[in-house]
Every structure is written in C-alpha cells, then in structure tokens.
Amino acid sequence: MKRIFILIILISLLFFSLFPYGVLFIASCSSIPVDKGLHSISISELTIINFQHVFTNEFNILLCNTLRVSLTTTFIIIIFSILLSYSITRFNFKYKVYIEYILISCYLIPPILLIIPYSRLLLAFNLLNSLTGLVLTNTAFCFPVCAWFMIRYFESISTDLDKSGALDGASTFKILWNILIPQAKTGIIAISVLSFILSWNDISFSFFFSDNIEFKTFADGLEQFRISDPTYTNMPSFAASSFIVVTIAILLFGLLEYSIDKKFNKI
C-alpha cells in the first residue's frame, strides 16, 4: 500500500515536470497551426519538418551567443567563488561574517533597479551591445548567490585536512588545489550548473542591453519573435527551436550528473 502511494506521488510529480516539455514536443511536431489546441492533432499530422527549418542563421547566432555567455560567466564565477570561499573560511579576520550578509543583500537587489547604472557603466566602457557586457552583468547577478553556496560547501570541509596538509609541507595554494577543491568537487559542479542555468535562462540583461540580434541570447531572441507573432502562427517553429535548446541544456546536465555519479557513485 505504502509503495503504491509513493509510486502515485512519483508519477504525478514526473508528469507535472514533463508536461510542458511534452506540450512543446507535440507543438514542434505539428504540421498544422496549433490554434485549435494540441489535443486536436492526430498522430498522422505529426512531422519532423519543423526541426529542419530551425537551424537558420539567426537561431545559430542566438544559440552560439547563449553558450558563450553562459560558459564564460560560469568559469569566472567558479574561480572567484573558490577564492572568496577559501579566504573567508580559512583565514580569520574581523567582520568576515558580514561578507555573507553583504552577498545575500547583493542578491536581493532587483536587477530592474540596476539597469540604469549598468547601462551607464557599459556605455562608459563601450560594452553596450556586446557579449562581454552580458557576461559582466550576468556575473554580477549570479556571483553573490553562487559565492554564498560555495562558502557553505567550504565550511563543511574539515580544517583538519588543511592542517595535516600544512604539516606535510604543502603550500597554501597546494592545499587549495590538491585538498580543498577535490573535497568540494560536488559543490563546485552543483554551483557550475546553477550559474550556467541562471545565465542560460537570463532574459533581462539581453533584453535591456542588446538591440542587435548579433548580441542577443536565445531567451530574449525567442521572446522578440513571440512578441512579433501574438497569434502563434509560427508556433511549431518556435516550439521546435525551444525544444532543441532545452534538450541541449538537459543533455548537458545529464552529462554533469553522470560524471558526478561515476566519480562519487552516490545516485
């Protein structure tokens, strides 16, 4: 009885998670306009032709931009979060507890209020309409929360390990590289995924700081297409491109989880 109950909850939650993805898949495979609802589409009307039209020049640019921005942001965030977490958890100094509060309060600031200062800052460095500008703003947005989580992970690693490393004559950076980073690997991977997703899904900064399709990310580019087509005439092709982008993200996370699984054999 208990098992059936657990199974029902599991299936309901899986359905809830997958449902919009399924809707997207059916919409992307439909050969007719989806005005009358997806339930009215019969299996014989499903086609893969919409996927063939996805890889247009614009879609490739958007996808490439999104990947470049997300990967660079993640790399910067991981390096800086590790440095900050190490300095906070392994060195004693006054007021270090307040840095955590500052990080949380920084994350609390709504991006909408930072748009004007950011636009002026980017304008001053000639970074409006550029991918570097998007990387910087995304880093600013994601760094506080990622650093906060990284501090939590570093705190959970016992300082005895550092001490024994130091006794064996290892330098500070050797301790960081050879002891702490391998210990915090799960946390680092989790935070990489978090920062990657935050910048991958970001729409606000691209929306405000890029006018040109050459420098827009996928989420914003798709939104511009959606606004220009409120009646959903091109919905099958939107759905097909969205489906491909989401699938890429899922495969990437699957790969990450698989690597964690292989390394730690925890799942």
Binding site: Y107, V245, F253
Partner: protein
C-alpha cells in the same frame, strides 16, 4: 620571523580575497550606490511622486500582488521540492535514477520564455488543460491564461523553480549519516518518525536558507510575470518589478528615481528580515 610569517599569510589572504571583493565593488556596490544616490538626489520630487502613486490603484495592487505571489509560489515550491527530495532520497538507486533526476531537474533548465510559451499554450481556452477539465469534470472551456493571470503565473513559477528547492534539500539529505537512519530503523522508528526526528532537524538549516533565498528571489522576480503579461490585455498581474518597469518605460529617467525610491523601503525591510534569519541560522549552527 613572526612578522615575516604574518606578512606571508597576509599576502596569501589578499591574493585570494582582493579579486572577488573588487568584482563585488565594481559590479554590484558601485551600481547599487548609484541607484541609491538616484533615489535621493531629487528627493523632494521623488516623495511627491510616491505620495501621488499611493493613490494609484495599480501601485497598491502591485504591492498586494507581489506579496501574494511570493507567499503562494514559495509555499508551493517548498512543499513540492521537499516531497521530491524525500522521494529521491528514499527510492532505492536503480538504472532509472539518473533519468528521474534529470526529469525533476528539467523545469529549472528551461528558459522563462520557453516555459511561458509552453504553459500559455496549455492554459489557453483551446489548450490541453481546458480540454482535460472539460472532458473529465465537465468544466466549460475557459482561458485560464487570460482570466486568471496571477494564478497561471504562480503555476508557471512553481513549476520553474521547485527544482531549486529539490536540489538544495537532496544535497542536504545525502549528507545525513546513514548510521543515524539505520539505528532508528533498528529501534523500530516508523517512516514519519524518521522524518520528524532525524530528517527534518538535519535539514532544518538548509531549509531555512532555501526559504530565505526563495522569498527574496520571488519577490524581485521580473521575467516570468513580465512575459506572462506581455501579450495579455488583462491588468490583473501588476507586480512591483513589472510596475517599476512600466514606469521606467512610460515616463523615462525622471520617474526612475521615484520608482527606485518606492522600492527602497521594501528592500530595507527584506534586508533586515534576511539578516535576522541568517543570524538565526548562525545560532543554529553554533548550537
């Protein structure tokens, strides 16, 4: 000799500490300071505009909607996230675990635009949800997306962000020592007793941190509510961030200082709340 050692340690500390702090100062502190200066540089004008806005029904509605939206989304996200994490923790590992993990994580990997497109297709009058409700419960076709925009936005936001809670709690659950659970089983503890006396106390710190973060993030959420409302003529969904954006969009830079000023007291309240909760976490950690 001691002084040299001190200098060596200091230089190591500074090499690690200075780069991230410079990043925070340049990318977060200076822009925030700029916003605050902007709030108060023309304070007389800002106050006048704020007082005027208090009579604006949309402004009052936006505050009410923001609180309602935050409360509902955070509560539902925590319930769903905790349930999912518990399921994943207790279900024995098998070859399908990784697929289940990915499926549960999927909503978080979906960009807001895609989530909104997908849900708006389902919540339309001709959408799948209306069809299912009509088929099984004989409820007339109804455009949930247009008529109940706030409810639709809450559903989309819960769907999008409950994996955040799930991942955070699952990490915390995996850290619980197996000996604890095993010894409770030997002592004859039931399932709910294990949850009440072992799992919940062990995950309490993480849960509080996640709740604080979710409240802050949902309260300042801009993209999902904005995208849900963009092609919709309904005025029901005006949250504080979208209201401020509409002010910036309509009236330009003069009103930005006023809108920033409107947000500022709320930021302070949330700041104090988060510091209070963080202090509680510290206290729990120390205990």
């Amino acid at each position: 000799m001691k002084f040299l050692q001190y200098l060596k340690n200091l230089s190591k500390f500074l090499i690690c500490f200075i780069p991230p702090i410079v990043l925070i100062i340049i990318l977060i502190f200076i822009p925030t300071l700029f916003t605050l200066v902007m709030c108060f540089e023309n304070y007389g004008n800002s106050i006048r505009i704020i007082l005027g806005k208090l009579e604006d029904r949309n402004f009052v509605n936006s505050i009410y909607n923001s609180f309602l939206y935050t409360l509902c989304t955070v509560t539902l996200q925590i319930i769903l996230g905790y349930l999912t994490a518990l399921l994943m923790f207790f279900i024995p590992k098998n070859r399908f675990s990784i697929f289940i993990w990915i499926i549960f994580f999927l909503p978080y990997a979906v960009p807001s635009t895609v989530a909104v497109i997908s849900w708006s297709m389902s919540l339309r009058e001709e959408g799948f949800i209306s069809y299912v409700l009509k088929y099984f419960f004989n409820i007339d076709n109804y455009s949930w997306f247009k008529e109940y925009l706030l409810l639709s936005t809450i559903i989309v936001s819960v769907w999008q962000f409950y994996p955040f809670v799930y991942i955070g709690l699952l990490t915390s659950l995996r850290k619980i020592p197996h000996n604890l659970l095993r010894s409770s089983e030997i002592d004859g503890a039931r399932f709910y007793q294990k949850i009440k006396y072992i799992i919940f106390p062990q995950t309490k710190k993480t849960l509080i941190s996640i709740i604080v973060l979710r409240i802050l993030l949902m309260f300042t959420k801009f993209d999902t509510p904005y995208l849900m409302g963009i092609n919709n003529k309904s005025n029901e969904l005006t949250l504080l961030p979208t209201y401020i954006y509409s002010l910036i969009n309509i009236s330009g830079i003069n009103t930005i200082s006023a809108s920033a000023a409107m947000y500022f007291p709320l930021i302070l309240v949330m700041l104090f709340t988060s510091i209070f909760i963080l202090l509680r976490i510290k206290k729990l950690v120390n205990n």
